[in-house]
Amino acid sequence: MSTIADRIVPDVGLEAGIAGLTTERIQEVVNQTLKGETGAKLKAYKETCMRCGLCSQGCHFYMSHDQDPSYSPVSKATETMYELIDKKGKVTPERIYQMAQIAFTECNLCKRCAHYCPVGIDIAYIMTMVRRICYLLDVVPQYIRDTAHSHSSTMNQMWIKDDEWIDSLQWQEDEARDEFPDLRIPLDKEGADVYYSVIGPEPKFRTQLIYQAAAIMNAAGIDWTMPSHPGWDNSDMCMYVGDFENMGRIKRAHYESAQKLRVKRIVMGECGHAFRSIYDMGNRWLGYKEMPVPVIHAIEFYWDLIQEGKIKITHKYEKPVTIQDPCNVIRGRGLMDKLRDVVHFLCEEVVEMTPNREHNYCCCAGGGVINCGPPFKNTRMEGNRVKADQLRNTGVKDIVIPCHNCHGGIEDIIGYYDLGMHGKFIGDIIYELMEKPEL
């Protein structure tokens, strides 16, 4: 059995953060946050948790570390929030470092453990509130902190300037017109049926995804648009940092940019965490019980198109594939059946992972852990051996992964465990198989 003290990872953000801290300051922030921002939910969780340990096997970190108890969900809560409550925040700065490392990098907020806890304790919520406290104490891993800063300064994740965003779209439109002569990426079209939104990394280094989405929209004859102004980025690292104020700002900007264009609905690209921010966290912070503009995930959108016969493919993908169920849209939004319908429509043979659907293992990149950057890459690799086993056991080479974070996480796992596999977005496959004009 190890403890968090045995595995401290050096990180500039965490180190600089605790350098200026005192126990008094910690106490002040902890107690203020507990009193002002938490309530019956946390209180009932702490009290009602029976310390039975049943949640342990729910967590990929615990399973991947040969059942090391310090990685069990309840242990993570005990070592962080429960201790802060018991000691009324009277802990050392070094202890806050340890707590921050647990909350930011050893929990993906994936909620898989919810399937294991008889009481119904939401460990992911508890970890979110630990992150909130660490954020208010200014103890946040450097990489994700930088990303959150980008959100708050530019309203997108990647420090993309407003004109660069438009340039990227027009560049993709221009490229795509070689292949699809009539294709447009309509900017700011008022009243369009579909407002397509993406995450910051797409215009920065996955521009082919915008190209493909445009090709699919074009072929399906969708009345669509993309906004030329801030709000286009649906991603949200502020949510994972614990910077709820900026989480609210960026979600509001996103919804309002769609409202300004009076579109019928927002369609999101293949991203999991952005979807969580839209239906679960950002909206609540803003006081919206439901989404003010209907938002659907790419899986649902493609499913609709398939039902309506608007996706025409020349043949099915021949090699066998397996499916990664991203937590935030499957356990988070119940899209497992639609995802399967879409993949079966596109592919000849699907080999399922076990466990799958809402019991899937997280990719270990989620919850902002991959965004904590290189210092914590090994945390993710060692922490998700079970995913590597799961993938290897399918015996296939191609993985359909409808989530950006999962792509990053799983590609890393594939490399680290030498699995020789490859991840694909649904959009990649549709684009590959779709009927294209003869030139």
């Binding site: 059995m1 921002e37 938490t38 309530g39 019956a40 939910k41 209180k43 009932a44 969780y45 009290e47 009602t48 029976m50 310390r51 039975c52 340990g53 049943l54 949640c55 342990s56 096997q57 729910g58 615990y62 059942q67 108890p69 310090s70 069990s72 309840v74 242990s75 005990t78 919810a114 399937h115 294991y116 806890c117 008889p118 009481v119 119904g120 304790i121 939401d122 239906y279 679960d280 609540r284 912070w285 006081g287 019980k289 499957i330 356990r331 988070g332 939004r333 119940g334 899209l335 497992m336 809402e358 019991h359």
Partner: protein, 219 residues
């Protein structure tokens, strides 16, 4: 000694029940008030349908991932809670009390069965203790409060069984049994045993979030 017995089965019993009822109401009401003040964005999603669905789903042994993951803990948990309720309500000695104190007459368990079930409950407590002492993932998170709750629960069973089998003085043992039982009842709202009050709500809340917002099962 008989005076003490009369006292513990009379006034003290009322005190214990009083503390239990008032304490439980207080805890539930103040928790609800706190939820209304601070957890609006959670309360808003509470759903009768999904809440009850989750409660029922988790009442089925081995249905959820959690129950499947640790069969010993699952069997022990179910057996213990059923035994606890059966003995507390239907043990013949208790049935007599219901009748004399409240004039309620309910069927009672055959004496020998009551004994077996009580011993079963003690065995379950022993298994809970065994888990806390030996399994690393339970040991590491066990605190004094957890032991206190376990001891509080097992004492009435042990003294009850001893009294029934006439080990030691029956009067002393029975008196001890009543005192421990009253202690247990009175302390339910204020110890880890308060899960008896709150678990319906934590479960229903998780069920509501999964069913209503996340559109996925929470088991």
């Amino acid at each position: 000694m008989t005076d003490i017995y009369t006292f513990v089965t009379g006034p003290l019993a009322w005190v214990a029940f009083g503390i239990f009822i008032i304490g439980s109401v207080y805890r539930l009401v103040s928790m609800y008030a706190l939820a209304k003040a601070k957890d609006g964005s959670s309360l808003a999603y509470m759903s009768w349908f999904y809440g009850l669905r989750s409660i029922l789903a988790w009442m089925v042994p081995f249905k959820s991932k959690g129950w499947q993951s640790d069969p010993l803990a699952t069997v022990t948990t179910f057996v213990f809670h059923i035994a606890f309720l059966l003995v507390a309500v239907f043990l013949n000695a208790h049935v007599v009390l219901w009748d004399t104190a409240f004039g309620i007459s309910i069927p009672s368990l055959p004496t020998y069965l009551g004994d077996i079930i009580s011993i079963l409950a003690i065995v379950c407590c022993a298994i809970f203790a065994y888990r806390r002492l030996t399994l690393p993932h339970v040991k590491g998170i066990t605190r004094n409060q957890d032991w206190f709750a376990l001891i509080l629960v097992v004492l009435p069973f042990i003294t009850g069984v001893l009294a029934y089998h006439q080990v030691g003085s029956v009067l002393v043992m029975t008196t001890l049994h009543v005192i421990f039982a009253e202690l247990l009842i009175a302390l339910i709202p204020f110890t880890r045993l308060s899960h008896a009050l709150f678990i319906l709500f934590t479960r229903a809340y998780m069920g509501s979030e999964f069913g209503g917002v996340r559109h996925a099962n929470d088991w």
